[in-house]
Symmetry: C2
Subunit: 326 residues, 2 copies
């Protein structure tokens, strides 16, 4: 073990990741022992951390551009689920050897998304080790306005953005565990949904005053909805036939497997949220104005039971998650 | 690759890392998509991120208690170098398999230091992958009060806390690259300095109104002092014979190698700072009251040249850092 960073690594970080400061609230960005930032009065800080590891979250031959993009996207999705405005990111990269091309492509993917949401990279660490990237993302909400997992009320409607199940299909197409059938365009769409998930930042912000509880479904819809309902001390009645499955997913694997993908697949950076029935119009307007599908999939019930139905009958969600039902 | 976290991992994180909230400024801690915290009015946020990777920063057989402790210590040291009060930590752990004993021991080490400095763990991520831990630490300073690397002025004195070089000696004793000689107690002290560095939080806070520039010397005194002077657009005249070498280090490797360890070894989480000559009494008082050695090792000069002397003659610092002079 040897802790001291070689000089060259320091230089590449400076060259690849240090940029002219973009945000007025960054007092001191990359290049000191720590970053200094300013939070506006009347706002609370929101912080999320997520790691992507080679071999677990992306393949060794994954395009570094996609890895850089996703390393930020998964954190943006966490902030979206709180209804937070993203602001500042810290990036810790571990890599076996300095690889200029890999790092530059990673940075391009990272900054593509950072620029889109006005996120500034304020610091980080680069170390020698197995390939992995950890991003810590900070943002803010008005005081007391964060949407937690704990606010769902009996009678609330349960909604979902986007098309769940696409991402896991894309992942399995990439690994060859699924084989594309007829449409190369559909395969491209599905793999893109895995490699370049669109975090629901603007939807999260719009839902901040609408949703009673919210979560992103990165671990799979059923598992994450269970977390939300547990935190809310509630249960739910849900309808599998209401799952907004994409045409591409249905064509690829059929309705039965598509439903399982949607319920347990994971890697869908969509928002699952609850809201009172009287907000249905606001939700429809939000979905319409943003071109974001927003589907009602069930209703919050009293007690802790989560009941999925299909064609009027009980539906068994594979309890052990995705790996155990393929 | 498979992104969905297995259920058991989720449970162990809950059990090992989730604790009763201790700080009043934590609105929402572990257990939601992101944490929510409150920054006091009149304060700026200070953020640092550091990664420890198995094989690079600690050995595979390192006590997990020490790894947990160091994962926070290295970040506390970064905040100390800004003169910041630490507050909230996020922890991303990658591990090859769930290992209850390892994680529990890691958590004990982490919380030992967290409790000492009133740091609350507010969130994180646990993923399957090669053993590594990334901590992001947030803290604060009064508006505009952060001590950067860029404020050193010609004529300022250059100071150093603690005994540089001890940590690298400890590391080499642990790997067997150095062999202890006479005193098991001395060996224990040196290895402890590597495994359990004491971050200079209280010293950093006391120096906030004294130091003109400050940095921690985790990459080695010479390299980090160079960063400070470059950021300040200044040079320095320094005296190798003023380096505060510990008796234990001197006994182990002799004065010549001890100086090299001190200059280029790294892993010393000490503070190097500059201050006007008229603050010498304040610095002595600070050192005295805290029992922290604080040694003057040189003077800031105009221009960019960093000149080390020994016995009145030029002294060549091994330019490529530690690995290249052993």
């Amino acid at each position: 073990m040897n802790s001291a960073a070689p000089v060259r690594e320091f230089e590449i970080i400076e060259r690849v990741f240090r940029r002219v400061s973009g945000r007025a609230d960054v007092v001191l960005g990359i290049g000191d022992d720590a970053a200094v930032t300013r939070l506006s009065a009347g706002r609370e800080l929101v912080t999320a951390t997520d790691t992507l590891v080679c071999g677990t979250h992306f393949a060794a031959d994954a395009p570094p551009h996609s890895v850089g993009y996703r390393s930020l996207a998964v954190n943006l999705s966490d902030l979206a689920a709180m209804g937070a405005d993203p602001a500042w990111a810290s990036l810790a990269i571990s890599l076996p050897a300095v690889d200029d091309d890999w790092l530059e492509s990673f940075a391009l993917g990272f900054f593509e998304l950072a620029d889109k949401y006005d996120v500034e990279l304020i610091g980080g660490d680069t170390v020698r080790g197995p390939l992995a990237a950890t991003v810590t993302l900070q943002g803010s909400v008005p005081d007391g306005a964060a949407v937690t997992r704990g606010g769902a009320q009996e009678g609330d409607m349960i909604y979902l953005t986007g098309n769940p199940g696409d991402a896991v299909a894309g992942r399995l197409l990439l690994t060859g565990e699924l084989t594309g059938k007829k449409s190369p365009d559909a395969d491209t769409l599905l793999t893109r949904r895995f490699m370049y998930p669109e975090p629901r930042i603007t939807e999260g912000l719009a839902l901040r005053t609408i949703a009673t509880a919210m979560i992103d479904i990165s671990d799979g819809l059923h598992a994450d909805l269970t977390h939300l309902l547990t935190a809310s001390g509630a249960g739910a009645e849900l309808d599998v036939s209401q799952l907004p499955l994409s045409v591409e997913l249905l064509e690829l694997v059929g309705e039965s497997r598509a439903s399982k993908f949607a319920l347990c697949g994971g890697d869908d950076y969509e928002l699952c949220f609850t809201a009172p029935a009287e907000r249905a119009k606001d939700i429809a307007a939000m979905a319409e104005s943003r071109g974001c599908p927003c589907s009602q999939i069930g209703t919050v019930s009293a007690g802790g039971k989560i009941e999925w139905h299909l064609h009027g009958r009980h539906y068994d969600v594979p309890v052990d998650g995705f790996r155990h039902f393929e």
